[in-house]
Amino acid sequence: MDQVFFSHALVYLAAAVLVVPFAKRLGMGSVLGYLIAGIIIGPYLLGFVGAEGEDIMHVAEFGVVMMLFLVGLELEPSRLWRLRSSILGLGGLQVLGTSLLLAIPGVLLGLSWNVALAIGMILSMSSTAIVLQTLGEKGLMHSSAGQNSFSVLLFQDLAIIPILAVLPLLSFHGGGQEMEVPGETGLIDHLPGWAQTLAVFGAVVAVIFIGTTLVRPLLRYVAGTRLRELFTAAALLLVVGITALMYSVGLSPALGTFLGGVVLANSEYRHELESDIEPFKGLLLGLFFIAVGASVNFGLILENPFLVLSLVASIMVLKTIVLYALARLFRMGTDQGLVFAVSLSQVGEFAFVLLSFARQQRILDENLTAMLMAIVALTMALTPLMILLNEKLIIPRVGTEELAEQIEPDRIDEKNPVIIAGFGRYGNIVGRFLKANGIGTTVLEIDSDRVELLRKLGLKVYYGDATREELLKSAGAEAAQLIVIALDSPEKCLELVETVKKHYPHLHVLVRAQDRSDAYEFMDAGVLYVYRETFDSSLRMGVDALKILGRRSYQAHQAMNIFRRHDNKALKHLATLRGDRKQYINHAREKIMELEKFIEADLQDRALDHDAGWDVESLKEEFRAS
């Protein structure tokens, strides 16, 4: 390992560590932060990285590769099926519509139809990395905009396969290659178009086959050693292996790992793989964005600034229009439609992959490719800004009003004792219950469609991200007594818990946990009132089951009370042991055994501790003896 490596690592890491937190603080999101960091260290500003930006790009593309592996892992068939109409309808129409609409001006500008079509397809892609990261950071993944964005991105990811297969057919230069493209020397470059297409499908089939037959036994074998780092190594090996295979046949490794992920989505190792790859992905993706920032060819842009900028603008506007039209067609509200359309309006990282592939296929010439690369990078760099503008300027004008704007500081009429953050299927029940008992509640909700609906029903619901301190303030957090936290995502809930602890320590915090592990997180964060959302309902079902089986209703209820108390105690105990995983498992097993004993004892000696007052047996004995 040479010195150059370290000095580069130093530059990249320092740029990330210095710039990204700053960007985040300014509300720009991490993606824009990385891009800016890249531009700063790039050849046109500080010049720390120059010609080798391209090489770095190759390393960084590996982040995209990993991300696609994770996206693949997320693709359980059931989820795909649930989202089928939005994936096929929304996603399909988006790719089709955008490709054609972008190809037509190309033809009008004098490009041949095959080149125009290739460019149209390439530019129809959006950036999974930017969109998922940005929406995730804003807690919008569960809103309708988030869900639909996910569907569209998914369709695009899937569409890569046919696009990669179709591109060679668009090349009029079949046969041997006149000029070697450095860096990308696949084994199949010398084959004719149809054979390359065949090879693409062959490699896909190979990944699926290996994924289904070989990988799972291997993972089982590795997991058997119980060495966590070895499993991480195996996970990386898997991704690197697929990447190597794909490179050797000149295919997109992103595509390969995506497939690999899909194949493993149903395996028992899914969560392990996910959590092992995640940190690598995050870091490499950051690197990727820095590299994109650094590789923006400002020289080219400065030569014809008007041309480049007008192209960037028209591409983004056109994509936004198509997306917004589709959003309305699929019945999204104004706000959500705008968030959706603007979020997806950039061209994505796949375009880089596809562009270099198209260049290899000599569909595009060198100048055009460089120009398009710069344009793509610019659209990506502009996205976080566009989202910010949309959020701060456009939506406040045309969309559902946000609480912060709605109530000026002097007329906060909300002096409600309770704030409910998240009015979904859990929060709404709590809210209705409190309302029925004459308690005033202030509701904060991030899904603007839901906000509008609830407002129509006459409820006081305010739109906004509850984790923002200003919003809490205008919702009257200072005067309130307690906050009910029932946001969709556990991460957001945790974030809100922290915010409340920091700024409003006087508030009682009641938080909904989706399962045991969430509950642990909240308990670790010092929350006293944690509710597992399915716990009570399951117990009540258990009570009814006992009753149907002939148990007395009062006894069944007592059994439930005992069980609940016991389980909560066990939960608290296990929460303190969670650090050591193996120990946790032991204890979990112990608890189950303890529970078994508990239940057995219950059956043998029906006079439970609790009911010892009713134990007449001892009394009778004394009586008989006298």
Binding site: W614, V616, K620
Partner: protein, 195 residues
Amino acid sequence: MAKVLILFAHPRYENSLVQQHLSTVAQKVSGVTFHDLYEFYPDFDVQIKYEQDLLIGHDIIILQHPFYWYSCPPLLKQWIDLVLEHGWAYGRAGKALAGKIMMNAVSTGGSQAAYQPDGFNRFTIGQFLAPFDQTARLCNMAYYPPFVVHGTHRAATRDIENAGESYRLLLEGIVAGKFSDEAIRNVTYLNELIN
């Protein structure tokens, strides 16, 4: 034909010997409505309107329960507290129960001898049941002497069966209106009407 409502309260029915048998017997007597409170309200959430309607539909209300701490189990007390509302059961406008009859049917661990002024428990069952007596009075109802099964701690199967038989005959007699007010007023325990 009098309509009889038995309000039954036993938190540990599974372990019960005497009361379980009495209940089985009572449920077979026609003209008797058997209402198992612990089965209905395991969480003590007594439905007032439902209970009041039930009372209105009957003439004689029997509170059947084991003797716990010289009184009734807690749910029955809860029932009394909630259902016998002011303005409905008592008070100037509270005449809903006027003319009805109330009584207790209890089992005790202690023997009859223990429930004497000079016995272990110092007071008679009748004295211990004074709150029920007065409750009935306040609600414009007549109060009958109790049906009592004593000495359950030592009861043999035969004793329990005999008690059950007496209870059956008593209930049937009450439904048929067999016992005169006169006869009833002259006994300490209704058990004496049988035999």
